[in-house]
């Protein structure tokens, strides 16, 4: 594979600066951000730019290797879990200091938990760091030991700690006590105040233009040969709001790599640049996120009172049968995709279940199912009508301006029209789209959720009927259908199980129910390509965003 080949040449990293003579040689790379930073305080915000800034300037207790999906020691060098699975004792690394020289101790960890659970902080991180809605209890028996106690048995266990960046207590405790932590470390904070345990420190923020990071000389990590990390002296993140401009930057070498994967329509351009030796284009295989189509299954909508067949499983199966997934992959993703039949793609190797029921392309089967719902062409216009004589159709809303989504929705509508359903597409801008999804004011949606974590227990809100991300019918007081009740039951066991094999088996059952009931229908998952300039060495691209910067400390310059 291309990726492993690139990793293999990592030893070839030399210290060599672009400037000659007068200035000392420095190793510097340039990457891009599509949006402005909003805050530098990980406890106050949750946008993707903040996530990147945090990855560069801060560290957490344990880290999930985004490629192997294994937990690896980070600020905690070892840990032990109690027999009941409820308590985890972590040993912190010795001699670690923040970028301003202050020592890192267990008090910083205790502070971090206190900060995110504080009501006045209102931290979104506090929500994701809960198990069954209850916070974790943390204590520090001595300066280098931390004990984390889960409120109930939690399958993913210590993986949860990958989310929690440990910010400096000595800089932020005052703000926490004053109840102003959510406003601390805003964009006007002098960069020298923003200290951390990460490989880089923020050197400058030029609004609307860039963030400049320089190496943190006190960073604690060394590479396999004992060399101090990070390799880079400077990393610049240029703020490039337009995707076209970002692409041009990659082609001209003004940007060494981006934060996201290559869009299918940009592949040809970048392939040419790669052929000219300007870029390396890496194929990471099948991605984690398939675009999802779902019908609104909320009960008691006026639309479903008139068209009750909209809620029927048979309709969803008929839709799945009606769409030619192979052609879909070729048209919507220009061939750089594989057909998929469920939300967990083959790219998610740990949780993917290959032998699930499939309702594959079969227009005749689709028409039979539709006929079973009482939908038939009663007036000979090649469009189906229901028993009341009303035209059988619905509107798919999708996100305006996202070419893959717009193209995908148009494709689905066209194939459904061939099956006799009168389907329209209404592309909406993001705000209007999400507003409609939240209010449930739609028939069908075609949208893409970005996976943030592969473990289903950490995406529990999608699976269980009371979850707010259970998009087709969110926040149910009690499960609306038997199959949703069954999923709730299985997921409750899945979250509380400790044995990985048992957790996998339970989640396979959930996937089977989903594949039969099709609350969400997936058609294709794109192949992921990542482009970097040929200057970059030792990049370790992963399927999750940020594709390169998740592992910034070993990045080097050729």
């Amino acid at each position: 594979m291309a990726v492993s080949a690139i990793v293999a040449v990592s030893g070839a990293c030399r210290r060599e600066g672009p400037g000659s003579g007068t200035k000392p040689p420095i190793e510097a790379l340039v990457s891009s951000l599509r949006a402005e930073p909003r805050t530098f305080n990980r406890y106050a915000g949750r946008d993707s730019v903040l996530e990147i800034v945090t990855l560069l300037t801060q560290a957490r207790l344990v880290r999930i290797d985004r490629r192997s999906q294994e937990v690896e020691p980070w600020l905690a060098e070892s840990w032990a879990t109690s027999a009941d699975g409820l308590t985890c004792t972590l040993k912190l690394r010795q001699g670690v200091t923040f970028s301003d020289g202050a020592p890192f101790t267990s008090a910083d960890v205790v502070f971090a938990f206190r900060a995110i659970y504080d009501e006045r902080t209102g931290s979104a991180l506090g929500d994701s760091m809960r198990v069954g809605g209850k916070p974790l209890a943390v204590s520090a028996p001595d300066a280098s030991t931390v004990v984390v106690r889960f409120p109930s048995v939690f399958g993913p266990g210590i993986r949860l700690l990958d989310n929690l960046a440990i910010l400096p207590r000595h800089k932020l405790e005052g703000a926490l006590n004053a109840g102003t932590l959510s406003k601390a470390w805003d964009l006007a904070t002098p960069p020298s105040e923003i200290v951390g345990l990460g490989p880089f420190v923020l050197k400058a923020y030029q609004p609307g233009q860039r963030l400049v990071f320089e190496r943190n000389p006190r960073y604690w990590r060394t590479d396999a040969r004992g060399q101090r990390l990070p390799v880079l002296d400077r990393l610049t993140l240029e703020i490039v709001p337009d995707q076209n401009a970002e692409l041009v930057g990659l082609q001209t070498g003004q940007i060494d790599f981006a934060q996201s994967e290559v869009r299918p329509e940009d592949y040809a351009t970048l392939r040419r640049a790669a052929d000219h030796g300007k870029l390396s284009l890496l194929d990471l295989g099948v991605g984690l996120d398939a675009d999802s189509f779902w019908l609104n299954l909320r009960p008691n909508r006026p639309a479903t009172a008139k068209r009750p067949w909209l809620l029927r499983t048979e309709l969803r199966r008929a839709i799945s049968h009606a769409v030619d997934r192979r052609s879909f992959a070729e048209t919507v993703f220009l061939g750089a995709a594989v057909p998929v039949y469920g939300p967990i793609t083959p790219g998610n190797q740990r949780w993917y279940s290959p032998d699930l029921p499939r309702f594959d392309y079969d227009v005749a089967a689709s028409r039979r199912l539709l006929a079973g719902l009482g939908l038939a062409d009663r007036d000979g216009d090649a469009v189906l009508e229901d028993r009341a004589g009303a035209t059988a159709g619905f509107t798919i809303v999708t996100q305006k301006g996202n070419t893959a989504l717009e193209r995908g929705a148009a494709f689905i509508a066209e194939d459904l029209r061939k099956a006799g359903l009168a389907v329209e597409v209404a592309p909406l801008d993001v705000g209007a789209l999400i507003d409609r999804i939240e209010r449930g004011a739609y028939d069908a949606v075609y949208y893409r959720f970005l996976t943030t974590d592969l473990d289903p227990a950490l995406n529990i809100d999608l699976w269980i009927s009371s979850g707010s991300a259970h998009v087709w019918n969110p926040s149910q007081a009690k499960p609306a259908t038997d199959w949703e009740r069954e999923i709730d039951r299985l997921m409750a066991r899945q979250v509380a199980a400790l044995d990985p094999a048992e957790r996998k088996a339970l989640f396979d059952q959930v996937q089977r129910i989903v594949a039969e009931q099709l609350p969400m229908i997936q058609f294709a998952a794109p192949r992921i390509y990542v482009a970097t300039s040929t200057r970059v060495v030792n990049a370790t691209p992963a399927l999750l965003r940020p594709v390169i910067l998740w592992n910034p400390d070993t990045l080097g310059v050729r």
Partner: protein, 330 residues
């Protein structure tokens, strides 16, 4: 004159108030709000609700608006929801960047458009006027989106200019001169993207007006007196013909100062238009209102400037507006 100016300033203040209020109310009424983007990022419904409460997004429209209006009257435009910074500070920062771009683009457009318009307006036939006319039609019929993309593409292929941004990282480290030189290299791309269609517009308006003036009796009599045609065009006819351009000039300046979001987004210029665009996308309503206030202030000022320049170009108007604001007598 003083009375006239005072009246215009009051009108401008009303305009700014109405536009920024309108922007605030419309952003508030538009579907989605600041907390919407949390959706799909794994936030629970409770935390979205909490976020809304924290920023006062769920308050009744009237109360929220009156509160804002009261503070805005004291020039406090509130705090941006996204950046947690005072709106006025963010706007000031970006407006400075935009004004550099606006002035450069306007100078460029005038330097190209005005002489071009005089040439096409004074000569009906000939190779040069036809070429200019054709070019300006091309530029007028291309949307700024395409013009900027083509310019970016040209810059990328030729490597003559950087494809975006305002300054390179660390440009000022090597001294003021190097910093300015770097700045000058970044300016042509975005200013051309704005100036090209603008130059075409100025050319069209000036051409028509020059043509109108040259058919007036005074022009014919001047020619008949034996004044060379060249002198008639560039000296005697220029001042009376400049009115229509002046009428749009200040206005154009105002709208340039309020920022062109297409050009600023594509060429990554950190200006007011992009701030407004980002604020709008994030539904940061106080920042949207602040940007709208700044934009309408610039427009009002530009329109005043327009009228003053026009009065200068046509003394009859000056007399009427300054001396007799009611216009009852002529």
């Amino acid at each position: 004159m003083v009375r006239y100016l005072a009246r215009r300033v009051i009108a401008a203040a009303v305009l700014v108030a109405v536009v920024s209020s309108g922007a605030l109310l419309l952003t508030r009424l538009a579907p989605g709000d600041f907390a919407s983007e949390l959706f799909g990022s794994g936030a629970t419904a409770e935390s979205i609700a909490r976020e809304r409460a924290r920023y006062g997004l769920g308050r009744p429209l009237g109360a929220q608006y009156l509160d804002w209006l009261g503070r805005a009257a004291r020039l406090d435009f509130g705090v941006s929801l996204v950046y947690h910074r005072p709106v006025i500070e963010l706007v000031r920062q970006r407006a400075a960047n935009t004004s550099i771009l606006a002035l450069a683009a306007l100078l460029l457009a005038t330097a190209i458009g005005l002489p071009a318009g005089i040439i096409t307006g004074s000569r009906r036939r000939g190779f040069l006027p036809s070429v200019i006319r054709g070019l300006s039609v091309v530029l007028l019929s291309l949307p700024s989106l395409i013009t900027s993309l083509v310019l970016v593409l040209v810059a990328a292929r030729t490597q003559w200019f950087p494809t975006g941004g305002m300054q390179s990282a660390g440009a000022w480290d090597a001294g003021t001169l190097a910093g300015l030189a770097d700045f000058a290299r970044h300016l042509p791309l975005p200013s051309l993207a704005i100036a090209l269609p603008l130059a075409a517009m100025i050319e069209r308006v000036q051409s028509q007006s020059m043509d109108d003036v040259l058919t007036m009796p005074f022009a014919l009599s001047t020619l008949a007196r034996g004044v060379p045609r060249r002198r008639l065009i560039w000296r005697d006819a220029l001042r009376p013909s400049i009115g229509p351009v002046a009428a749009i000039y200040g206005f154009v300046l105002g709208s340039l100062l309020s920022g062109s979001f297409v050009v600023e987004v594509i060429t990554a210029w950190p200006g007011l238009g992009r701030l407004m665009y980002d604020a709008l996308r994030a539904r940061d309503l106080y920042l949207v209102a602040g940007c709208a206030a700044a934009g309408s202030l610039f427009l009002a000022a530009g329109s005043l400037l327009s009228d003053l320049v026009q009065a200068w170009a046509d003394p009859r108007l000056r007399q009427r507006e300054a001396g007799d604001p009611t216009g009852a007598t002529t």
